[in-house]
Amino acid sequence: MHKDFSIIEKRLNILANSTNLISILTADGIRKYVNKTFCDYFEKTEDELIGSSIFYGYSDNQK
């Protein structure tokens, strides 16, 4: 099954397994991708985070 991974899937796999907090945002600040480290760190599920805006996110302090 792993052999069938496309290059893009493999790249996503690298992002998913990174110990860094990784998110990809649309130009207007909506999260369209978050990795597992990101979810674990902010104690949220992937579903809760994807589609949410960074301006109404995890923190009141965020500027």
Binding site: S18, N20, I22, A27, F38, Y58, S59, D60, N61, Q62
Partner: protein, 269 residues
């Protein structure tokens, strides 16, 4: 559509409240644009640097404390650091001030540069044996300045180990001791002259006194016809007895004085 990544990255640090703790995250944000420079998306890569920040704060505190210590040391103590071979890598201002050497003359040299030649080879061999075995060495060393003057220092040499417990540096701290040492040397000189005097009195003066007394005693047994000679002989007898008494007293005094003094000219240093 061709997407290209722009080179510019932004580093942002933000504070968030998590588990009632302020966390510091460093974000590297990369803008991804199309051929017409329209922003398509942003990739944000974050890293929790809270602990790094705590370490940084601690490091700053330690540095402040260390600087205060170094400042205190620099004003009074002659300090130098060498590598594992004894080559000087650091010397403080006090070292330069006392030794009359510039820092760049000292760095790269060993402490041989200030060797006065006073101490035996064994003295330094023993010192090296101690410190290369990781022991702290303490002692008094006579050093020589660039212009040929001598100075005594009370020295402590501390071996410093690297993370693998291997000695890679030696820290030397010294206090100038010349004045105390000069006084000690002066005392020793005085004591030596006391002993010389003791020797002179007990041998060189006492011996002729004894000879004179012996001869006078022989004369004293003879009958003199003229009273003048008799009187002169009595006068000589009295004088020599007085000389005998005082020279004995002096010998005794110096001998007792020497005993109570903690120094002795036989002490080597």
């Amino acid at each position: 559509m061709k997407i290209k990544t722009q080179d510019e990255s932004v580093k942002v640090t933000i504070n968030i409240g998590r588990n009632n703790k302020n966390k510091l995250i460093e974000w590297t944000i990369t803008r991804i644009c199309d051929d017409n420079q329209n922003l398509i998306e942003l990739v944000a890569i974050g890293k929790d640097i809270s602990e790094l920040n705590v370490i940084k704060t601690q490091k700053e505190e330690i540095n402040t404390l260390l600087n205060a210590h170094v400042e205190a040391i620099d004003s009074n103590i002659i300090c130098s650091i060498t590598d594992e071979n004894g080559v000087i890598t650091y010397a403080n201002n006090k070292f330069c001030e006392v030794s009359k050497y510039d820092l760049n003359e000292l760095v790269g040299n060993t402490h041989n540069i200030i060797n006065s030649g006073f101490h035996s080879k064994d003295f330094f061999t023993n010192m090296w044996k101690n410190i290369s075995n990781g022991k702290v060495w303490e002692g008094e060393i006579k050093n020589k300045t660039k212009d040929g003057n001598y100075y005594w220092v009370e020295t402590v040499i501390i071996p410093i180990k690297d993370t693998n417990s291997k000695i890679n540096r030696f820290l030397s701290l010294r206090i100038l001791k010349t004045q105390i040492k000069e006084m000690e040397e002066e005392i020793l000189r005085l004591l030596k002259s006391h002993e010389d005097m003791l020797f002179m009195i007990s041998h060189e003066i006492r011996r002729p006194i004894t000879s004179i007394m012996g001869v006078l005693n022989i004369f004293n047994e003879k009958e003199f016809e003229d009273t003048e000679s008799k009187l002169m002989l009595n006068y000589l007898m009295e004088s020599i007895q007085e000389l005998d008494f005082h020279s004995r007293k002096m010998t005794k005094y110096i001998y007792e004085h020497k005993k109570v003094n903690k120094f002795s000219s036989t002490t080597t240093h």
